[in-house]
C-alpha cells in the first residue's frame, strides 16, 4: 500500500502529466505568472491585477458577468440546435416538445431564454457603469467604440432569437421590427426620397432581413442563421478585441486616487 504523497509523486512524474503541464508548480510568484502565460485561455488576462481593480464596488463585475452569460447562452444554444428545425411546419412544435418531451428540455430552454434577457440587462448596466465612472475617456475611446458595437450585436442576437419559436409573439415582433426598418430613411421603401433612390419593398432593408416582403419561412431561416452562426461569430471576434484592449489600455479601470 502506497502512501498518498507517493501516488501523487508518481502521477506528477508521468509523461502524460508532464506533457500537459510542462513544468513543476511551486506556488512562487514566477510560477503563478508562468501558469497564466502558458495557458491559452488565460493568456488574454494580465498576469498581475491591482488590488483596487478587484473591488466589486467600482466595476460591479458586469463585464465578466456578461461574458459568463454569453458562454452560458452558447452552450445551451448549441444543445437547443439539436432539437430544433428552422421550418415553419416544425419550429413551433419543436419548441413545445422541448417542454413536453426532451430530457431536461424545460431547464435548457428556460436557461437560454432567461439567460438572454439577463445578458441584455447586464450589458446595459455594464455600459452604464463605464459611462458613470468615465472609463470611456482616453486612452479607452477605441474600446468604448467596440463596446457600442457589442451592445448592438447583443440586441440583434436577442431580436433574431425572438422569431425562432415561431409563435404569435415572435411573429408580430419581427413584423413590427422589420416594418420599422422599412420606414428608415435611405434603407426602407417607406423612408423619405425612397422613390428617387428606386427603393421598393423588394430591394430594401426589410426585404434583406426577411428574405421576402412578409414574415415567412425565409425570414425564419434567415433569423436562425443570423442568430446561431453569423452574429455569434462577429461577437466573439469583437469580444477578443475588447478584452485585449482592456489590457493594452492600462488594465481594468479603477478609482483614481
Amino acid at each position: 500500500m502506497k502512501s498518498l504523497p507517493e501516488i501523487s509523486e508518481k502521477v506528477r512524474k508521468n509523461l502524460i502529466w508532464k506533457s500537459i503541464f510542462r513544468r513543476d508548480y511551486r506556488n512562487s510568484i514566477r510560477d503563478r505568472a508562468q501558469a497564466v502565460f502558458g495557458n491559452v485561455f488565460l493568456h488574454l488576462h494580465p498576469v498581475q491585477v491591482r488590488e483596487s481593480a478587484v473591488k466589486l464596488r467600482f466595476t460591479w463585475g458586469m463585464g465578466g458577468i456578461t461574458f459568463f452569460a454569453f458562454i452560458l447562452l452558447v452552450i445551451t444554444g448549441v444543445v437547443l440546435m439539436f432539437y430544433y428545425h428552422p421550418s415553419i411546419d416544425q419550429a413551433y412544435t419543436d419548441i413545445k416538445d422541448l417542454e413536453f418531451q426532451v430530457p431536461f428540455g424545460v431547464i435548457l430552454r428556460n436557461l437560454h431564454r432567461w439567460g438572454a434577457h439577463f445578458m441584455v440587462i447586464v450589458v446595459m448596466i455594464h455600459m452604464f457603469r463605464v459611462f458613470m465612472t468615465g472609463s470611456y475617456k482616453a486612452p479607452r475611446q477605441f474600446n468604448w467604440g467596440i463596446g457600442v458595437f457589442l451592445l448592438v450585436l447583443t440586441f440583434l442576437l436577442s431580436f433574431t432569437g425572438y422569431l425562432t419559436p415561431w409563435d404569435q409573439l415572435g411573429f408580430w415582433a419581427i413584423t413590427v421590427g422589420t416594418n420599422m426598418g422599412a420606414a428608415t430613411p435611405l434603407l426602407g421603401y417607406q423612408g423619405p426620397f425612397s422613390e428617387y433612390l428606386h427603393i421598393t419593398p423588394y430591394n430594401d432593408i426589410r426585404f434583406a432581413l426577411l428574405g421576402g416582403a412578409q414574415v415567412g419561412g425565409n425570414a425564419l431561416l434567415r433569423s436562425y442563421i443570423w442568430h446561431c452562426v453569423a452574429i455569434p461569430l462577429i461577437s466573439i471576434i469583437l469580444m477578443f478585441v475588447h478584452f485585449w484592449r482592456v489590457r493594452k489600455d492600462g488594465g481594468i479601470s479603477k478609482p483614481q486616487k
Binding site: T93, E99, F100
Partner: protein, 871 residues
C-alpha cells in the same frame, strides 16, 4: 486591519457555502422534476400495470380454483402417476436394451437409405448429362448409355421401396415403445395449457416498458401522445372503469373504423396531443390554446371533417340530428355553407302575397312571428311598426294590391259545407303535417305551417286556388295537390276558414287604403338591407345578390348575374377553426369566456348583442337548439385532413364517377311533382325517411294491392304514420281522366291518357324492381303444400313472431300487421326478407333467426295464405 480582513473572508465562506447548497438542491430538484414531476404519465402507466396485473392474477387464481373444483387436480395427479409408471416400465433394463437395439438397427437402415438416395441422385445426374448430349448430337451411343442408366435407376428405386418399408417398421416399433409416455405427456400439457397461458400473460404484462406512447399521422405531421396516460383506451377488456385507464366507449363503432394507430386521438377529440406534462395542458384547457378537448356528444362534431353524408352515420346520431337544424332554419340562405348550396328557399314565395294574406296580419307577422304561432321558424328582426308597415307596403304593392283586410267574423258559414269539409280534412290527413290547436304535425321535417288561426290570415279566394293547385302559386312547395273536386275544395275552404280563426285578430283595413310611394321605397331599402330575398322569392328581387364587401372597397358596384357574389351573412365554411382574434366579442369581451364555442353560442342566443349595427335576426332558439347548432358550426373547420381519411357523400361520389343522380321519368315524374310522394317516402335515395322506402316496391308488392291501397290507404303499421287519402283515381275508363280534377294537368291527357294510379303502378313494376328478389320461390316436391303451410304456421308460433306482428287481433304492434300479407307482398320478397332482413332495410329491428331455406319456404307459404276476405 489584518484581523478585520480575515473576518471578512470567513463571512464570505458562509455565503459561498449557502449558495453552493442552494445550487446543489436546485440541481437535484431539476433532475427530480425532469424525471417525475414533468412526466406524470409514468405514474399512470405504472398504476395501470398494477391494475392489469391484479386483474390477471385474480383471473389466474379463479382458473386454478375452477381447475381444482372440476376435479382437474386429481386427474392431473393421476395422469402424472401413470406417467411415472410408464416411465418406469420404459426405463427397465430389458426394455432399455431392446430400445437401444432397435435404435441402432433403425440408424443402420437410415444410413443405407441415405447412401441409396445418393446413388440415385448420381445416376439421375448422369442420365441427364447423356440426355443432353443425345439431344444435341443425336449419336446412338448416348442413347445406349441412357438406357443403361435408366435400368440402373429403376433398380435403385426398387431397392429404395424395400428399404423404406423396413425403415417404417422400425419406426413403428420404436414409437410403440415410447407412445405411452409421449401420449401422457401431451395430455398433461394440454390440461395445464390454460393456466400456463394465463401465467404467461401475467409475466408479459410485468415486462411491459413504461414509455411514451405516440401516434404520428405522417401526412399532416400530427403527433398524439394521449395513450401515454390513456393506456387502456384501445383495449378489448376493461381493466378499470376509471379515467385515464378506461377503454373507449362504443369502440366497436369508433375505434373499429378509426384505428387509433392511424387516426390518433386529437383528430376527433382536439386538445393538445403533444403535451404530456399535465392533464390540463394535454386536454388543451389552458390559456392561449384554441382547441380544448371535446368529449361526449360534442365529439361528434368532428365527424363533419371527413364524412360527407352525416345522416344515418352510426355513432354520429346526435350531430346528424343537429345538422337538420341548419335546414330547418335555413342558415344557408344568408351564410355560405359548403354542402348546403343547392337547397331551395326556406321561406314561401312572396311574389303574390298581397292577394293571399290580410295586411294587418302581415304587419303583425313581421313584428313578431312567434306571436302568431309559437313554432314559427321565421326570426324576429326587431322592426318598428313603421318599418314593418313599409315592408308590407312594398310586398303588397308588388302584388298590385292595396292595404286591405278580409274579415269573416260576421259571415255565417254554410253548415253543410263545413260538415263535408271536416270529413275531407280528416280523410286527407291534413294534421299529418299541419298542427292545429297543438295537435298533429307528426311529420316534423316538412315544416308545414300551423293552421290554428289561418282563417284570419288568408282569404277564401286564395285558399281555393291554393288547394286546387299549390304548384301554381309556389313552384316547388311541399304541399301535394289533392285530387279534390271544386265542390270539395269549397267545402274544405269553408271548414278551414270557419273552424280555424283567430278571435283576437285585428282587421284595421277592412276599408282598403292606398299605399304611398315613399313607404314602398323605404320598404325596398329595408328588404335589401336585411336580405329577405335570402329565404323568400320576392318580385323585383329575383336576382338580388350581395356584392362582396372586398369588391365594394375596390369600387365594384355592379356585377353580372353569375359573377362572384356573396351571401348577406359571414361565410361559415370554416367558422369552427376561425382564429379567436378574428371573432369580435365587442361589448361582451369581459362578460363571456373568450373562446370560440362560447362566441358561437352567444351569437345564436342573442345575435345582435355584441355591438350595434349587426343585422342577424333573432331566431329565439331554445337552449338545446343553441347547443346543437353551435356544435354543428364548431365542426365546420378547415382542418388539415389527409385525403385517405375523406369519406365523400354519395352525391359527391356519383359526381366523381360521372354518374347522374337518379331522376324520375315520364308521367311518374309529373305525379311525384304533383303529389309529392317523396315528402314521406324515399325512392332510390330521393326523399324523406318518414314512410317506407319504395325503391323496390315493384318487386315487393302485389299489383292489386297497390291499386287498392293508393285509392284507399289503410293502416299497415299501427303507428301514427298513416298515409293520407290523396284522391288518386283508380280510373280504368279513359273518360275518368278528363274529370275536372285533372283540368290543371292538361298535358297528361294529351300525353298518355293514363290515370295516375296506372302511372304509379307501371312505374313501380318497370323501374322500382330488383333482380335480388325472385319472381317465384323454390318449391318442395316431396311435401304437400298444406303440410308445408302447417309447418310454417308451427314455425311462426315457435319463433315468437307474434310478439311483434299481429294476425287478426292477436299479436304485438311493433312490426307490420300480417293479417292481409298474402294479398300485399310478393312471395319472393318474403322469402328473401326472411333470409336477411337487413338487405333491403339496414336499420330494421327484426332479428336474424337464421332460417334454413326449407324453413323459409314453409314460412313464406304460410304467410301467403293470410288474406282478408275483401268481398
Amino acid at each position: 486591519m489584518a484581523n478585520e480582513q480575515k473576518n471578512n473572508s470567513s463571512n464570505r465562506v458562509y455565503i459561498f457555502v449557502f449558495f453552493s447548497v442552494v445550487l446543489l438542491a436546485l440541481s437535484l430538484w431539476v433532475v427530480w422534476d425532469d424525471e417525475f414531476g414533468l412526466r406524470p404519465w409514468k405514474k399512470y402507466q405504472q398504476e395501470f400495470k398494477t391494475l392489469k396485473h391484479d386483474k390477471l392474477e385474480s383471473e389466474y387464481r379463479k382458473a386454478v380454483v375452477d381447475f381444482q373444483r372440476s376435479g382437474g387436480h386429481t386427474r392431473l395427479a393421476e395422469l402424472e402417476a401413470r406417467l411415472a409408471k410408464a416411465e418406469a416400465v420404459f426405463q427397465s433394463p430389458a426394455n432399455q436394451e431392446k430400445y437401444k437395439q432397435l435404435t441402432t438397427q433403425f440408424d443402420d437402415i437410415h444410413a443405407t437409405a441415405a447412401s441409396n438416395q445418393k446413388e440415385l441422385q448420381n445416376a439421375r445426374g448422369k442420365f441427364l448429362e447423356s440426355e443432353y448430349y443425345f439431344t444435341k448430337t443425336q449419336k446412338p451411343e448416348y442413347k445406349a448409355t441412357m438406357d443403361l442408366l435408366q435400368r440402373e435407376i429403376d433398380a435403385i428405386n426398387l431397392r429404395r421401396a424395400s428399404i423404406q418399408k423396413k425403415e417404417e417398421a422400425f419406426k413403428n416399433a420404436l414409437n410403440e415403445m415410447t407412445s405411452a409416455t409421449v401420449n401422457l405427456k401431451a395430455e398433461i400439457e394440454d390440461m395445464k395449457k390454460g393456466l400456463e397461458e394465463l401465467k404467461e400473460k401475467i409475466a408479459s404484462n410485468d415486462k411491459v416498458a413504461v414509455e411514451i406512447k405516440q401516434v404520428h399521422i405522417k401526412d399532416i405531421d400530427k403527433a398524439d401522445r394521449c395513450q401515454s396516460c390513456h393506456i387502456g383506451i384501445d383495449g378489448k377488456h376493461q381493466v378499470s372503469s376509471l379515467q385515464p385507464f378506461t377503454k373507449h366507449p362504443a369502440s366497436f363503432v369508433y375505434l373499429d373504423h378509426h384505428d387509433p394507430s392511424k387516426f390518433g386521438c386529437t383528430f376527433c377529440h382536439r386538445g393538445q396531443g403533444r403535451a404530456t406534462t399535465s392533464v390540463e395542458k394535454a386536454h388543451g384547457k389552458v390559456k392561449h390554446f384554441d382547441e380544448p378537448l371535446l368529449d361526449g356528444d360534442m365529439t361528434q362534431t368532428s365527424c363533419l371533417n371527413c364524412h360527407g353524408d352525416i345522416k344515418g352515420l352510426r355513432g354520429a346520431e346526435q350531430i346528424g340530428i343537429s345538422t337538420e337544424l341548419i335546414k330547418k332554419y335555413g342558415c344557408y340562405s344568408c351564410h355560405k355553407i359548403p354542402g348546403y348550396e343547392s337547397i331551395g328557399d326556406v321561406g314561401p314565395v312572396l311574389t303574390e302575397v298581397g292577394s293571399k294574406v290580410n295586411y294587418s296580419w302581415a304587419v303583425n307577422w313581421l313584428l313578431d312571428p312567434k306571436k302568431y304561432f309559437s313554432t314559427a321558424r321565421m326570426p324576429k328582426f326587431f322592426f318598428t311598426q313603421a318599418q314593418a308597415e313599409a315592408i308590407a307596403d312594398y310586398l303588397f304593392s308588388m302584388s298590385g294590391t292595396t292595404r286591405h283586410d278580409v274579415d269573416y267574423a260576421n259571415t255565417q258559414p254554410n253548415a253543410q259545407l263545413v260538415e263535408q269539409g271536416k270529413t275531407l280534412w280528416s280523410q286527407a290527413r291534413c294534421n299529418l303535417c299541419h298542427t292545429t290547436g297543438g295537435r298533429g304535425g307528426n311529420h316534423i321535417k316538412v315544416y308545414a305551417p300551423d293552421l290554428s288561426k289561418v282563417g284570419s290570415k288568408v282569404n277564401k279566394e286564395w285558399l281555393f286556388k291554393w288547394l286546387k293547385n299549390p304548384n301554381a302559386y309556389f313552384p316547388g312547395t311541399k304541399m301535394p295537390r289533392f285530387r279534390f273536386t271544386d265542390q270539395e275544395i269549397n267545402a274544405l275552404v269553408e271548414y278551414i276558414v270557419s273552424e280555424y280563426k283567430d278571435d283576437e285578430a285585428e282587421a284595421r283595413y277592412v276599408q282598403p287604403v292606398e299605399i304611398k310611394a315613399a313607404s314602398i321605397k323605404k320598404g325596398k331599402e329595408l328588404i335589401q338591407q336585411y336580405g329577405c330575398y335570402g329565404c323568400h322569392k320576392l318580385q323585383g328581387m329575383e336576382e338580388m345578390v350581395q356584392i362582396a364587401p372586398s369588391l365594394k372597397s375596390q369600387g365594384v358596384s355592379f356585377l353580372r348575374k353569375d359573377e362572384m357574389r356573396e351571401k348577406i351573412g359571414t361565410e361559415l365554411s370554416s367558422i369552427g377553426s376561425k382564429p379567436l382574434e378574428m371573432l369580435d366579442f365587442g361589448k361582451l369581451a369581459k362578460a363571456i369566456p373568450n373562446d370560440r364555442l362560447s362566441y358561437l353560442k352567444q351569437k345564436l342566443r342573442d345575435p345582435r348583442g355584441f355591438r350595434l349595427g349587426l343585422r342577424m335576426p333573432d331566431f329565439r332558439l331554445s337552449e338545446s337548439e343553441v347547443n346543437e347548432l353551435a356544435a354543428v358550426l364548431y365542426g365546420f373547420t378547415d382542418a388539415n385532413v389527409p385525403v385517405r381519411f375523406m369519406v365523400p357523400s354519395r352525391q359527391e361520389l356519383d359526381k366523381m364517377a360521372g354518374v347522374q343522380g337518379y331522376k324520375f321519368t315520364g308521367d311518374f315524374a309529373k305525379v311525384i311533382a304533383d303529389v309529392k310522394c317523396t315528402n314521406c317516402h324515399s325512392i332510390k335515395g330521393i326523399g324523406a325517411d318518414y314512410a317506407p322506402d319504395l325503391s323496390i316496391a315493384g318487386s315487393k308488392l302485389q299489383e292489386k294491392w297497390i291499386r287498392k291501397f293508393l285509392a284507399n290507404p289503410d293502416v299497415i303499421r299501427p303507428l301514427l304514420q298513416q298515409m293520407p287519402k290523396l284522391g288518386l283515381t283508380l280510373g280504368k275508363p279513359a273518360a275518368k281522366v278528363t274529370m275536372p280534377k285533372f283540368n290543371l294537368g292538361k298535358q297528361r291527357v294529351e300525353d298518355t291518357n293514363k290515370s295516375d294510379v296506372d302511372v304509379v303502378v307501371d312505374y313501380f313494376q318497370q323501374e322500382l324492381v330488383t333482380t335480388d328478389i325472385p319472381k317465384a320461390i323454390p318449391t318442395i316436391t316431396t311435401m304437400a303444400l298444406p303440410e308445408q303451410i302447417s309447418k310454417g304456421k308451427a314455425l311462426y308460433e315457435f319463433k315468437g313472431c307474434r310478439s311483434c306482428h299481429q294476425i287478426g287481433l292477436d299479436g304485438g304492434a311493433l312490426g307490420p300487421n300480417l293479417s292481409d300479407v298474402g294479398n300485399r307482398l310478393q312471395p319472393g320478397f318474403i322469402f328473401r326478407h326472411l333470409e336477411n332482413a337487413r338487405k333491403f332495410k339496414p336499420d330494421i329491428v327484426e332479428p336474424d333467426y337464421g332460417f334454413t331455406e326449407r324453413e323459409r319456404i314453409y314460412l313464406t307459404n304460410f304467410l301467403m295464405t293470410l288474406k282478408l276476405n275483401t268481398k
